[in-house]
């Protein structure tokens, strides 16, 4: 077991994990932050997307021990039910989900996508959101939500 200080959503957590534990499993099973989802566990679906030092990554392909000294942001850290993040509000307004399983990853990826500025056209949004799959195929509404959030961000 390796003692580790993990900074998540602005809070420091002192935990002990084995080196083989992924960031995704540490968030869900040790910190009980279950907003971040496990879809494929192999980097292909984006359900586990979180931000590390402001960049979107797949937490299933990151080891928890590699995140010491970094700032991790999960979906629990971006908004609340009463005060949703503008991207979350756009997802609600556009009805950009069905079962909702991919949504935390979509939201985290979309927040980064808007910030990165890859929202110049619907095609650009599709390409730069392509790491996030949706089995319910809410893609049209997701693109619309990202477009709305980007417009609000620019305004």
């Amino acid at each position: 077991m390796i003692p580790l200080v993990l900074r998540v959503n602005g809070r420091e957590h002192r935990i002990e994990v084995e080196a083989r534990v992924t960031l995704l499993d540490a968030l869900r099973d040790v910190l009980h932050l279950t907003g971040t989802k496990k879809g494929c566990d192999r980097g292909e679906c984006g359900a586990c997307t979180v931000h590390v030092d402001g960049e979107r990554i797949n937490s299933c392909l990151a080891l928890a021990v590699m995140q010491e000294g970094r700032e991790v942001t999960t979906v629990e850290g971006v908004g609340t039910v009463g005060a949703p993040h503008p991207v979350q509000a756009a997802f609600v307004a556009r009805d950009a989900l069905q079962c909702g399983y991919c949504t935390p990853g979509q939201v985290m990826s979309a927040i980064a996508c808007v910030r990165e500025g890859h929202t110049g056209s619907d095609d650009e949004i599709r390409e730069w959101m392509s790491g996030n799959l949706c089995r319910c195929a809410a893609y049209e509404q997701i693109v619309a939500a990202v477009r709305d959030a980007a417009e609000a961000h620019r305004a």
């Binding site: 192999r42 980097g43 990554i57 299933c60 392909l61 590699m66 990826s109 392509s130 790491g131």
Partner: protein, 285 residues
């Protein structure tokens, strides 16, 4: 799927990393971005006893400009290759190829050194490094050595790196006057790995090709240069007809490591078409 247990160390100097690799012996393995390695650990395709994390080695993160070359640190991410002003200006082929790796989340973690050391025959960056005649800079217990890319890739997922050696950087010539570049990639579907990739650098003076470097991804057990096409292009007129004629010299004997169920005739046709497209695209770059 959960990996078999292993120890973990995060050295802060290249020397300490080499020492750790050496001490770990056959069970030691480098981890950079983890975008290929963690998947292999999870499926237990590899079972290292020690992972040496190279993420905190500042020397391996730098891009250093020399008079005629760029030395790109091994842990430069694909995202950084895409955005770094020096890479874009002096080695635009690497910026172009980085754009073809995975998706944004993968590119934020995956590194140039990781792609090159992983040596997936279907990997995109290795083909670009080979087209560039890049040199692989390696540090080990016996000091530094520099391996030409033509000698670095020795088989599927096999390189000239010794187990106790660290890939510290990739040295590529700065793109000179008259050169243009392109990377053309074909996949059977958005989620599939590269079926064929073509990295192209051509130089034209007036209406004539004076130099051509072309490397293919997933056409053999390592990235390979399309020498016959290169030779045919040099001295040829810059016309689509001449490009087609040169590309048609690809003889169709390619033996990709992962054939993805397509026939030899399909692959041979694809290679000719993609190579023609890649050279034409490089010309209008």
């Amino acid at each position: 799927m959960i990996p078999a247990p292993f120890d973990y160390t995060r050295p802060t100097t290249v020397e300490d990393a080499v020492t750790a690799l050496r001490a770990g012996g056959a069970g030691a393995k480098v981890i950079a971005g983890g975008q290929s390695l963690v998947r292999m650990l999870q499926r237990r395709l590899v079972r290292p006893t020690l992972l040496v994390d190279v993420g905190c080695l500042s020397r391996m993160r730098e891009v250093v400009e020399e008079p005629d070359h760029l030395v790109i640190g091994a842990t430069t991410t694909q995202h950084e290759l895409l955005h770094d002003a020096r890479v874009r200006a002096h080695a635009p082929l690497l910026s172009l190829v980085a754009r073809h790796v995975g998706d944004p989340a993968v590119r934020h973690r995956g590194t140039l050194g990781g792609s090159v050391a992983h040596a997936d025959p279907a990997g995109d960056p290795p083909a670009a490094v080979l087209a560039l005649d890049g040199e692989i800079i390696v540090e080990g217990p016996r000091g530094e050595r520099v391996i030409p890319s033509a000698e670095f890739f020795v088989g599927p997922f096999r390189t000239a790196l010794e187990p106790d050696e660290l890939l510290v950087g990739v040295r590529v010539p700065k793109m000179g006057e008259g050169w243009t570049v392109h990377y053309e990639k074909f996949r059977l579907s958005a989620q599939k790995p590269t079926l064929l990739g073509v990295a192209v650098m051509v130089r034209r003076v007036g209406d004539c090709f004076t130099d051509a470097h072309i490397a293919l991804a997933n056409s053999g057990s390592t990235p390979v240069r399309a020498t016959a096409v290169e030779v045919a292009l040099v001295g040829a007129d810059v016309t689509e007809e001449a490009v087609t004629k040169a590309a048609d010299l690809l003889d169709g004997t390619m033996e990709p490591f992962a054939r993805q169920g397509v026939s030899q005739a399909y692959l041979a046709h694809l290679a000719r078409v993609l190579t023609r497209r890649a050279v034409v695209a490089a010309l209008s770059w």
